[in-house]
Amino acid sequence: MRQGHDTGLTRRAALGALGTVGVAVSLGGVVTLGGAAPAAAQALGQNEPLEAALKRVFGGRPMKDGSGMIKLDIPLIAENGAVVPVGVEVNAPMTPQSYVKHIYIVADKNRIPIVTRVALTPASGQAYMGANIRLGETTDVRAIVEQSDGTLLALTREVKVTVGGCGG
């Protein structure tokens, strides 16, 4: 079965489970914050090569093969690199004793390889994240998982990005 197709099914199934009626919808408001953005967040997204990014963020710590535990949902072919939906699910406990602390998304060939870092807590109930990400070109995308004991797990998948046919 094709992975790319899996992605579609999984998302649709998830939405189906949410149901189409009685969906809670809320409006957002704009509030101005006094200060600037947190320094840690500014440091996360740097224009740097992959190796530098991995070294800066993970300090050369060993990473285990996450293929048994991590499920990385991402289309194998992205029609449009500007919007690529990614979903990560980790089959691991979420208890105060042992939980998934961080899920990182890394796009190897992006100018800013670190896409996002999600900090989770046991209150999440499940180690799961989803987001729309940008891919500048065909690239490996990694899901890197950091557990509360510091263990790092990684799973990589290549995403092919097509550019326009004759444009549209």
Binding site: V31, T32, L33, A37, A107, V118, A119, G130, N132
Partner: protein, 110 residues
Amino acid sequence: MSDIGKVRLRVPASIKAGDVIRVRCLVIHPMERIERDKAGKIIDKKYQYIDTVTVTYLGKTIATFDTTQSVSENPFFAFAVKATDPGKLTVSFHDTHGQKYEGSVDIAFS
């Protein structure tokens, strides 16, 4: 887009106490990309993009996304929550221009 900062949140229609639910949210935001001048040099300016997304449930932060310019324009974010008690779930988005956008939903049990 003038709709910048509009937020939509989506939770399951029916939630039971103790369910681990998945929440999706979308925010209208340009998530400005790095621009380059004609010589290919990066234009130095304070790009406007969301760098933090905070999920609060029952007054406690349960998940935080630190985000970069590699996240799409008008992004969605999804996460899980263990619905232990009825109460408010809020997602706030902070951007590099000091703006804060927010959406919230009441978690109620059926």
